[in-house]
Symmetry: C2
Subunit: 237 residues, 2 copies
DNA sequence: CGCCTATTTGACGTGACTCAACTCCCGTGG
DNA sequence: CCACGGGAGTTGAGTCACGTCAAATAGGCG
């Protein structure tokens, strides 16, 4: 699960739930950002909400000493900008060629007024983002290198289109800054997982997962609890 | 800033903003939890929203291997339970003697229906929580022991009643599990800060901050951007 | 006073970081 | 078609910050 929250994953689980928010963007023109370009910078006035049509985006923040931290990765279907106040608290950069649509916050707000049920989707989205952040904090504070990489692969595997294949369009330093490691340790850990027979290199930015269960065992995940939409869930929405 | 989001801090900045949500609890009876008692456990059905009247609470999650992670600390004025779906994603435990009020989610929802402006306060609260989580991820992934402890002291200093004094009602292992360190490293780092003349031991669970600026320098904080309530902020609320 | 827990301090081990060399891949241009 | 260049990735050797284990000390409370 991305630390930014992955709307697509949510909408797969509850098909009729989140499409509404994304449908708002269909009337907006599609724009292109080339690999490496920034959609916006950390600290910019937060004027727009974005909807990714295709490609991959990284979300990053910087420490005073220049160290970079990657909060998460976004892909087709994801939204950016729901959780801001007046300024973006992080930058968004295209990993590869990205197509996206954008809407001014003001227009977005007007759309919400017209269809108030979207507000509960906002809440739901923000809650997902909080849960994802907490999962990631747990990874960063308690997991070792192998557990981190396994967790990362597992998340990507679950949200990927092709079963058994994990694609990593970002470069190693993106993964490293996301998992709180160095590129060398990421590389060594991936090699170790290949030697253990848990994954296989498939293409330049792709691995085949030989054994999902081994991966899960090595990920040392927290206990999961059912949190599906049910009686209790309608409350607060 | 607590990873759970600190409503009190917010309401100090925007006095008329968040009181509304908390006022809802005034008609509920006050309950007591003794030190060490759990308000609820990770995985419990999320039936109630809580409002802390006095005392301190820790919010924790567990990994499959039994390791504990503390997501944050809460104190008088804070709310718990706004960000849940059907189950609590973490447990809440009293650090000391805690007084609190609770309200069923259903009743809370009815109150929200009566006063829809509370929904924007919910959104605002969730956004604070996301920002705080991201700050904490940054700490966990990029900061060394000294920077972590300084950041922690600084957060506590800013939200504390008595200027220049930091109170740490929780035990060292709580701090350690919050900052992703061991109790020994926490202890050694505090000692080092005392030797450097940045803080002074005041009482058993209290330090005097000699130099706030040294503390800030050693915390290596990320750049901060104004994000105060302004024109752009009314959007989405 | 005596017990128990929290905390500090010390000695030592180690997993991940740093620095450095090397390889791989892919695009470019001769 | 191959030579070349440069960014990305891998691998190795050595170091260090923090973890682990163990012992000493300090408080709190009956």
């Amino acid at each position: 699960m991305s630390a930014i929250g992955n709307l697509r994953a949510v909408s797969e689980a509850y098909p009729c739930d989140e499409n509404g928010l994304r449908a708002l963007f269909l009337r907006q023109p599609s724009e292109i950002a080339e690999a490496g370009a920034a959609l916006f910078f950390e600290g910019d006035p937060a004027c727009h909400v974005f909807h990714l049509v295709s490609g991959n985006v990284r979300i990053c923040r910087f420490l005073a000493d220049g160290h970079r931290f990657i909060i998460g990765f976004l892909r087709a279907g994801d939204l950016i900008g729901l959780s801001f106040r007046s300024r973006y608290m992080f930058g968004a950069e295209a990993i590869d060629r990205v197509a996206f649509r954008r809407m001014s916050k003001r227009m977005f707000e007007e759309e919400l007024q017209l269809a108030p049920e979207h507000r509960s989707q906002m809440l739901s989205h923000l809650r997902d983002e909080i849960t994802a952040s907490q999962d990631h904090m747990l990874l960063l504070s308690q997991k070792n290198a192998e557990e981190r990489v396994c967790t990362f692969l597992l998340d990507r595997l679950d949200s990927d289109d092709t079963p058994g294949l994990v694609s990593l369009p970002m470069i190693r330093s993106d993964i490293a800054d996301y998992l709180g490691m160095t590129i060398e340790t990421v590389s060594r850990t991936l090699t170790k997982l290949v030697l253990k027979g848990i994954i296989l290199p498939a293409a330049r930015h792709q691995f085949k997962v030989v054994s999902r269960s081994s991966l899960a065992r090595h990920a040392n995940e927290a206990n999961e609890y059912d949190d599906h939409q049910g009686e209790a869930l309608r409350v607060l929405q």
